[in-house]
């Protein structure tokens, strides 16, 4: 495989950590300090615009953490623009949560300075049996043979579960057939039970077809359907057809 030329890699590369800023809060704090603004009364519109400009310039606009902060700033900016009543006690400053986080982060940065200084001071003294950390060796070049690669691919493919498919097939109801059967039965007998209509061991399609046929015939006035109560046997009775049709 050929490696991407470095320039293309730089452009396509995903920014994970930048020398200059260790995260969106760090960048935000930097902007606040640079502008020398009051953090508790943050000029959010100005800061949001600057934030967007910087992440565009540094190509950080691909990094999710920075994008999330940008979106947050824009939302707060929009919320600040919403009209509010003077002296509205219910109003909560949309910047409050952000200010809290920035203050907290600022505290962390102070601790970082302290810890860094402590570590630097400690590094001026050596203990017995000091063993330096092993140097980070770049990983060995990947050597792979085609057969291994194919075998690996097969293993991976084998792990892909067979997708479960539900096949939907049309099962047309045979309402006409059921209607014809019921009419034929009614020609012989004046009264029928549900069992006579659907026959023995009916399929769901038979049941549905027969039921619709029954309703249709009842509507036409060819028969009368009667049931004593819920789940009681359904009785079907012939009706003299009405003339008005």
């Amino acid at each position: 495989m050929t490696a991407l030329p470095p320039t293309a890699q730089d452009q396509a590369g995903f920014v994970v950590e930048l020398e200059q800023f260790s995260g969106p809060l760090d960048l935000l704090l930097h902007l606040i300090r640079e502008d020398e603004v009051d953090i508790t009364d943050l000029p959010i519109a100005k800061i949001a615009d600057q934030f967007l400009a910087v992440i565009n310039e540094l190509r950080l606009n691909q990094a999710a953490d920075y994008l999330e902060m940008a979106a947050r700033l824009l939302r707060i900016k929009a919320q600040m623009l919403l009209p509010r009543h003077v002296g509205d006690d219910e109003w909560e400053d949309p910047r409050a949560e952000l200010v809290r986080r920035v203050l907290e982060y600022q505290q962390i940065r102070e601790l970082v300075e302290w810890l860094g200084a402590a570590a630097a001071r400690r590094a001026e003294q050596f203990g017995r049996g000091f063993s330096p950390e092993p140097p980070t060796v770049p990983p060995a070049p990947l050597v792979i043979d085609l057969n291994d690669l194919l075998a690996a691919a097969e293993r991976v493919i084998a792990l892909i579960p067979e997708p479960v498919l539900h096949r939907v097939v049309p099962r047309p109801l045979d309402v006409e057939g059921a209607t014809a059967r019921i009419e034929a039965l009614l020609a012989e007998r004046a009264a029928l039970g549900w069992g006579d209509v659907v026959g023995e061991r009916p399929t769901i399609v038979d049941v549905l077809s027969a039921f619709i046929a029954l309703l249709e015939l009842a509507k036409r006035g060819a028969l009368r359907v009667h049931q004593e109560g819920p789940f009681a046997p359904i009785q079907i009775r012939r009706e003299s057809p009405r003339e008005a049709r």
Partner: protein
């Protein structure tokens, strides 16, 4: 020097890491912790006279001989020993959060830093500066991290109480001063 002080000196010389009073007591169970502590003070004073290139330091809840600061440059240049690699700002931020919030889960570190800190935490754990101390309540019982004695060692701290108290930090935003006296 007392015989016990010399025994302690030998043990500290032989060890590559700080030894605690409890560990040193095992050298001579009849001596007891108080006698070992007295021996350590005697030893420290003996090396503090200015006649030695090493000094006895209280560090990481134990005691250790360390070279005097003034020789760091020469030893480093001669490459008899190398200074540890400096920690990145991201690593220090993460360490600070874990040190003050321990036991603390990854998601809390992420939230305070505003960035995904999983890789940084893994690296710190690899270097032995933090470790999983327990599991939290709630969804997935997240791993909770704390600092190790190794953390105290690389900072030259006796214990966690030597970290600055949060109240001592200036939370008020300071404009960037040209030369900030720290």
């Amino acid at each position: 020097m007392s015989p016990l002080a010399k025994l302690v000196e030998a043990a500290l010389f032989a060890s590559a890491r700080p030894l605690t009073v409890e560990e040193l007591v095992t050298l001579d169970p009849q001596a007891g912790a108080a006698a070992v502590r007295a021996a350590l003070v005697e030893l420290r004073n003996a090396f503090a006279t200015g006649d030695h290139g090493v000094e006895l330091i209280e560090i990481a809840q134990g005691w250790q001989f360390l070279t005097q600061r003034e020789y760091a440059e020469a030893i480093d240049r001669a490459q008899f020993a190398l200074r540890p690699r400096r920690l990145s700002p991201a690593a220090l931020e993460t360490l600070a959060i874990i040190a003050y919030r321990q036991p603390v889960g990854r998601s809390e570190v992420d939230e305070i830093r505003g960035v995904d800190s999983g890789a940084v935490i893994d690296k710190l754990a690899e270097r032995g500066l933090v470790e999983v101390v327990t599991r939290g309540e709630g969804l997935g019982r997240p791993l909770l991290y704390g600092t190790t004695p190794q953390f105290l060692e690389i900072l030259g701290l006796k214990d966690l109480d030597e970290l600055p108290r949060l109240e001592e930090l200036s939370v008020a935003l300071r404009p960037p001063a040209p030369a900030e006296p720290e």
